[in-house]
């Protein structure tokens, strides 16, 4: 079975919400839509206080290159345009909407029929992706239309769809494949057309045999979609590792996947692409897993963007258990710990993961015993222990020479460290310092 060529770890999978079908989360009374839900500059609000908006109406426009449109997830009246604290407590520009009814834009096709044919030209597809505010739903929320505008002089040869879902606990991609296999395949076909590549490869880790079977069966009806079962190893779903696993190619230091002729999209993004292109539905919903060992029940939801963490928790499990130690947005390896549960969800939120107190606590740090486990676990072939020492002693120049910027922050080093040294934290700090140093030199 295919996999990437070095490093990697195997954390406990904990896919306990696998069998929970996707439910629809009801809409709350008030929605707060943040203006930067994506990588890059925030969108500019184009509505004013008192404006009436419909579901799917454009409310934030992308005015710079690295930006994505934001649409209203609900219908109602704009209450105010202000700032709102996001899940990490940082104030972000936001549009507050009072919910009134559930009136959708007329252009959106809400019928359940699956529409397979797409008559649009590649350029039109990319333009429509931009209009619909589609971003990568694998976690980085990179605006999709930028990814699919292949720069001059470069040629895409492979379209790779990331359905590895190598993160523990997360099951939203799995549920999408199980319930919307056909839509996903249409989405993949559209993206394949947009890039003009002969084949698309969907990489699925072998711990999801049902999804592999389902996708293989569905893919037969489509041209040029190949399902690749992958070995269960974290970080199989990291862009560079996935490219390596499927094509055997390597993305060089500081290079983008397109430099190796590859474009990678998440399977959730493919579903969003289908809805955007075939149904004219902008990205206003997330498919989100609510999971955790301590929770009474496990859920997968389709949630309107802007619903707060508290609302989702209240609807799904009532309230957080007494023993809650940590709430994570995303998986255990690369997700972010949430501090502000009153914050609205944003595009790309794939889970609310509740960890018990004991599980969430880090063990005390001790001396490095130079066992080299971090080095052997590193999927990029770097030396985390060395970065730790260099960053601590502020030897930033040397850290750069040892390619600290190659680090993908997957967390394998900290995961495997017997001395519990916060290596990933130290490397992130080091990367920030290296970038600051490079910026200062310019």
């Amino acid at each position: 079975m295919k996999t990437f060529r070095m490093g990697g770890v195997h954390p406990e999978e904990n896919k306990i919400s696998n069998d929970a079908a996707i439910e629809v989360m009801p809409v709350g009374k008030q929605m707060v839509v943040l203006m930067n839900q994506h990588l890059g500059a925030p969108a500019t609000p184009i509505v004013q206080k008192g404006d009436k908006v419909k579901v799917g109406q454009l409310i934030g426009e992308a005015q710079t290159f690295m930006c994505a449109n934001v649409h209203s997830p609900v219908s109602g009246t704009v209450l105010k345009i202000d700032t709102c604290k996001d899940a990490f407590g940082l104030a972000k520009p936001a549009v507050y909407i009072n919910v009134e009814g559930d009136e959708w834009m007329e252009t959106i096709d809400r019928t359940p029929d699956i529409k397979r044919e797409c008559a649009l030209e590649p350029k039109e597809i990319v333009a429509k992706l931009k209009e619909m505010g589609i971003v990568g739903l694998g976690g980085a929320t990179f605006p999709t239309h930028i990814k699919y505008s292949v720069p001059e002089g470069k040629k895409a040869e492979y379209l790779i769809v990331n359905a590895a879902e190598c993160e523990p606990y997360l099951t939203s991609d799995y549920r999408v494949m199980m319930e919307h296999a056909e839509e996903v395949c249409v989405g993949v076909s559209i993206l394949r057309k947009a890039l003009g590549v002969p084949n698309a490869y969907i990489g699925i880790e072998s711990n999801k045999p049902q999804a592999i079977a389902k996708m293989q069966e569905t893919a037969k009806q489509f041209e040029g979609i190949i399902i690749e079962p992958l070995k269960v190893k974290y970080p199989q779903g990291a862009e560079k590792q996935l490219i390596n696993a499927i094509t055997g190619r390597k993305v060089g230091s500081g290079k983008l996947p397109i430099d190796s002729g590859c474009v990678v999209s998440n399977v959730g993004s493919c579903f969003a692409v289908y809805e955007a292109i075939q149904k004219n539905k902008p990205l206003i919903e997330n498919i989100l897993t609510v999971t955790g060992k301590e929770l009474p029940s496990q859920h997968n939801y389709v949630v309107r963007i802007g619903t707060t963490y508290n609302e989702i928790i209240a609807h799904s499990i009532g309230q957080l258990p007494e023993t809650t130690g940590k709430v994570i947005s995303g998986g255990t390896m690369m997700g972010k710990a949430v501090v502000n549960l009153e914050a609205p969800t944003v595009k790309g939120n794939s889970s609310i993961l509740v960890m018990g107190e004991k599980e969430a606590r880090r063990n005390p740090e001790s001396n490095c015993i130079r066992c080299g486990k971090c080095m052997h676990a590193c999927p990029m072939g770097l030396e985390p222990y060395l970065f730790s020492a260099l960053v601590k002693n502020n030897r930033i120049e040397e850290a750069k020479e040892h390619n600290i910027l190659d680090c993908i922050e997957c967390g394998c080093c900290f995961f495997s460290c017997p001395a519990n040294k916060p290596l990933t934290d130290e490397i992130r700090l080091g990367k920030n310092k290296v970038r600051a140093m490079m910026a200062a030199k310019k």
């Binding site: 990490f88 940082l90 710990a337 501090v339 969430a360 916060p422 934290d425 130290e426 700090l429 920030n432």
Partner: protein, 302 residues
Amino acid sequence: MTHDILIAVMVLGALGILFAVVLYFVAQKFKVVEDPLIDEVAEVLPGANCGGCGKAGCRAFAEACVSQGNMEGLRCAPGGDAVAAKISALLGCAVEQGEPQVAVVRCNPANCGDKRRSNYDGLKSCAFQNTVYTGESGCPFGCLGCGDCVAACQFDAIHMDPATGTPVVDADKCTACGACAKACPRRVIELRNKGKKERRVYVSCVNKEKGAVAMKSCANACIGCGKCAKVCPMEAITVVDNLSYIDYKKCIACRKCVTECPTKAIHDVGFPAPAVKPAPKPEAPAAEKVEIPVAEKVEAKL
């Protein structure tokens, strides 16, 4: 036997002489001509290599002084005026006087403990914690309490107060080199003039959020109400972005703003203990006499 010893001594002796001669010529050939003044200046400097002057170290500072010929724009904060005078004497230029300064931590930790919303469990580094989230109190501007400033201090002048989790500056040891201010990712620490009799007044908050939002994370936050700016007789206080700032060059440490501040965000340091207030009565009229005219003036302005 004696013969052997003699040979050994002679061989080693000859080698020694040979190397001495070689060394002498090499030293002559590669002699570096350096202004002896640099050594003299470097001798005067504290030698802590703190980098507070902006140079790579004390020797680089000495080189800069000598090459410039005067002390204009060059100041060794740890050395203070005494060192400046000595260097000026060596260089034969006029003495540049600077106000003595001290590092001031502009964050009010008194209520942070109650308002703690989370428990930070990651790498003990403010610079890193700052990239993760707002910090334990929920204030996105305030002190993070991991002690990057403590680690940066070369003079053992700043320490964490375990009770509050914020740093405390030892004004006697602080040389105002600015290393802590540079290390703080949130720019909470500022260098301010020590003030007459070491008395200073400053706004102990850097939160730029709107009043109501700021109060949520800290009861002692500056809410930008502007009352302090109104009572200030010297117009030393400005309010920008919901945050008040006292210009230490204009401040006369009258402490009107301290009493005026509704959130007790303005701190005074170095004044006689508050025990004066309830204590001896005879002093009270004197104090009133001083205060009344100023208060009237302000009211007249309004």
